[in-house]
Subunit: 407 residues, 2 copies
C-alpha cells in the first residue's frame, strides 16, 4: 500500500481548501496512490493518529471543498522538535503506509515539513514530502506570491473602497478619518493591497502604514492633517504590525502564540486615539480580523485557481519521486498576467520571511508605487464562484470517516 | 416649473443609492416633474443652496448609481430647528421651484421631513414631502422592515459563517472564542441576523448579545464556558449597544454626535478582556464598523430591489398629491415571502425606535427564536448584481453639474 496524507497548518486563508481540493482530487485520480488521508488539525492530529480517510467520500461532497472557508480538516500551530515527536510521527506514517505527505502552510509549516523530510532521509524511510504554499501575508520566500494573498488582498481593496465611499458621504459634519487595520505579522503586503482601491478618480485610502517603514507619529499626523485639509476626509489602511524606529511593535496584546510569535493587536485604536487627540476630529476604526482571511465569498478567481493548481502539482511532483520541495509560482509577466509553476527546496523557505520591497513603497513611506500596483492587480482578478441557497453560502458536508487507530 | 429635490441623510446603507436611483429615475420618467435636483450632503447642503441638477445626466451613469456604496450625493447628521433655518430652507425651495421633496433617511431624518412638511402646511407653501426609509438598524417604526437592513444582515450572517469556520479550524490549539461586534445603536436587529449563519449541522454563532437584554456578566461567562466545554469553540455576535440592568451603556467612546446620540465603541474588546480574564483562553475580535453597512458587494437582491421600489413609489405618491408620509413595507407572508407597500404618517415615525420584540429572542436571552429566523431569512435572499473590472467594483461617475445659486 502506498497512501497519501494531506494536512493543513497555521492561520487559514479563504482558498486553503481549494489547495486541499487540488491535492485530494489529484491523489484520488492518480494510479500511484492507494488511499488518501487527511490529518485532523495538522501535524497535531497526525501525532495523535487522528486521520480521516477521504478515499470513499462522494464526488459531490469533495467538489464542495473549494467553496468552503476555514480549514476543512482543521489546522494547528503545533511545532515538532523532540525525538519523541519524530519517533511517534514516523510510527504513524509506517502504521498507515503513508508514502506521500503534503503539508499546506506558511513559513513555520514549511520548516516543519523540511524537518520531516530530513528525518525521513536520515531514517531511510520512504516518504515524499511536498509543501503546498499558503498564507494571506504573502511573505513566503522563494515564490512570486502565495495562494491566499490574492483573495485577502481583494477583500482589503473592496472593503476599503466601500468604506471610503461611506466616509466621503459623511465627512462634511461627522467622521473625517477612517482606519482599517490589516493583518500582516511581518510584512506590509496585505496593507499595501488597500492601494488597489485608490484611483485618479477616487482617492482613498490616501495613507497606508507598513511595518517596513518605522512609524513616525509626527509625520503621520502631519500627513493626515494635510489630506483632510486638501480632500476633506482621510482613509487609512494600517498594518497591525507597525513598529517604532527601534523595531519594537507599537501595539501588542501582551502574549505569545505557540510558535513564539508575539500577539499583535489594536493598532487601529492606537492610531484613532492619536489622531483624535491631535486633530480633534471624529475617527472610525474597522478591525476585520478573521474576516480578512476567511472571506471566501469575495475570493479572487485567479487566487482560487492557483490554490487548486499548487495542490495538484504537489501530487504530480511527489509521484515523480521528488521530495523536500514546495511548489512555487514564478511570474512571467504582469500584463497580461502570465506565470509558471516551479519547485524550491524547503530548506530555502523554512522560517524566512519576505518583506515588501522598498521599490513597492512610495518615497514618503505612506503609500505604494505603480510597481506594486502592477504586481498586485493580476492577483485579485475575477470572482471565484460561490454556491448560495437562501442567500447564504453552502459549504462541504463530508462524511469524515475516521481511520481506525492502529497504535 | 415644478421641480423635485432628493437628499440623503444619516448613516448610509449599502443600498441607499438604490433608493436614490428609484427616486431619480421615477422623477425623470414622470411628466409632472420638470427638473430633478439632489441636495449635497442632505439638508445641510440644501440650506447652503448646494444642489446638483441630475436632469441631464446620461442614462448610463444614472444606471450605475444603484451599484455604488456610500451616499452618492453625500449625507449629513444635521438637524434643523431654528426659525432661521426654516426660513432659509423655504427660500431655497422657492428660488428653485421645488415642489417635491424626498428625504431618504432613518428616525432622525423622518423627524426632519415631518417638521418640513408641517412648516410647509403652516406657510401655505406648495410642497409634497415624502420620506424614503433607510437604516441598517431596522429600528424604524411603522414598517415591517427597512431597506438597508437585509444587506447588512446578509453581510453579518455570511461574515460570521466564514469567521466561525476559521475559528473551528484553529480552536484545538489556538483561539477558542471569536467575537464580532455588530452595529445597532438602539436595537438588536443586526446582531440577531448573525443567527442566520447557524444551523443544526453547523453551530455558530452560539451566542448573540442584544441591547434589549440587560447584560449579565456572570451568566455570559458561564454560557461561554459551557459552549466551549461542549463544542470546543464559541462564536459570538455582540451588539455595540449592550446595556447594564440600569440601562447605561457598557462601552462608550465618551462623546456624542450632533443628534445628541452617545458614541458607542469597542464592546468587542470589553468582552474579550472579560473572557480572557475569566476563562484564560485566546479570544479574537472583529469590529467591521463601516464595512457592515457599506458592503455593497454582498447586498441582498431582495433588499436592493425593495430599496429601488420605495424610492420610485415615493415619487408616485407625491405626484398623487400626498405629503407628510413615508413609504413603508407591510409583510403578507414569510414563506413564500410576500409583501405590499403602503404609506404611514411621518408623525408616527419621527424619532421613535422599534426594538427587537421579546418573542424574537430565546428564553435565556443569548440567541434568537425560530420566529426571528422566519422573519429575517426572506430579507437576505439572492445576490444583488455587481459590476466588476479587474476584480474591483465599478461605481458611478456622475457629471455632478451644480445648480447655480440664486440666493
Amino acid at each position: 500500500m502506498k497512501n497519501a496524507l494531506y494536512a493543513q497548518s497555521g492561520g487559514v486563508t479563504s482558498v486553503i481548501n481549494a489547495s486541499a481540493y487540488g491535492t485530494i482530487v489529484a491523489a484520488l485520480e492518480s494510479e500511484g496512490i492507494d488511499r488518501i488521508f487527511a490529518g485532523i488539525n495538522g501535524i497535531k492530529g497526525i501525532l495523535n493518529e487522528e486521520l480521516l480517510d477521504l478515499t470513499e467520500e462522494t464526488r459531490s461532497e469533495i467538489d464542495r471543498i473549494p467553496y468552503t472557508p476555514g480549514a476543512v480538516f482543521g489546522s494547528c500551530r503545533t511545532k515538532i522538535d523532540s525525538d519523541e515527536d519524530f519517533d511517534r510521527l514516523f510510527r504513524v506514517f509506517d502504521a498507515h503506509s503513508i508514502r506521500y505527505f503534503f503539508y499546506n502552510g506558511g513559513n513555520d509549516s514549511m520548516d516543519t515539513a523540511n524537518k520531516i523530510d530530513n528525518k525521513a532521509k536520515e531514517l531511510g524511510f520512504s516518504l515524499q514530502v511536498i509543501g503546498v504554499p499558503k498564507t494571506v501575508d504573502n511573505d513566503l520566500m522563494e515564490t512570486d506570491h502565495c495562494p491566499g494573498y490574492g483573495s485577502a488582498a481583494r477583500f482589503t481593496a473592496i472593503s476599503i473602497m466601500e468604506a471610503t465611499r461611506d466616509l466621503r458621504s459623511m465627512y462634511s459634519d461627522s467622521t473625517k478619518v477612517f482606519i482599517m487595520e490589516s493583518m500582516g505579522r511581518h510584512s506590509g503586503w496585505l496593507a499595501a493591497s488597500g492601494s488597489l482601491a485608490s484611483s485618479d478618480r477616487f482617492h482613498g485610502p490616501q495613507i497606508i502604514l507598513f511595518p517596513e517603514v518605522p512609524f513616525n507619529e509626527d509625520a503621520f499626523i502631519a500627513k493626515v492633517d494635510d489630506v483632510i485639509v486638501r480632500e476633506g476626509y482621510c482613509s487609512i489602511v494600517a498594518s497591525e504590525a507597525l513598529k517604532r524606529p527601534d523595531e519594537s511593535y507599537i501595539s501588542t496584546a501582551g502574549y505569545y502564540d505557540s510558535f513564539g510569535n508575539v500577539q499583535l493587536g489594536k493598532i487601529g485604536q492606537y492610531l484613532e486615539k492619536t489622531i483624535r487627540d491631535s486633530l480633534k476630529c471624529k475617527v472610525h476604526v474597522a478591525i476585520p480580523d478573521y474576516l480578512q482571511r476567511s472571506s471566501r465569498h469575495i475570493a479572487s478567481l485567479i487566487d482560487w485557481q492557483e490554490a487548486v493548481e499548487v495542490g495538484a502539482l504537489a501530487v504530480r511532483e511527489a509521484l515523480e519521486g521528488v521530495s523536500g520541495v514546495m511548489v512555487s509560482i514564478c511570474r512571467l509577466s504582469n500584463r497580461p498576467y502570465l506565470k509558471k509553476y516551479c519547485t524550491v527546496d524547503l530548506e530555502r523557505i523554512a522560517n524566512g520571511t519576505k518583506d515588501l520591497p522598498r521599490e513597492f513603497i512610495s518615497e514618503d513611506g505612506f503609500h505604494v508605487t505603480e510597481e506594486f500596483r502592477s504586481y498586485a492587480l493580476p492577483l485579485i482578478q475575477g470572482e471565484a464562484p460561490n454556491l448560495y441557497l437562501h442567500g447564504l453560502p453552502i459549504y462541504e458536508n463530508l462524511e469524515r470517516r475516521k481511520v481506525e487507530k492502529l497504535l
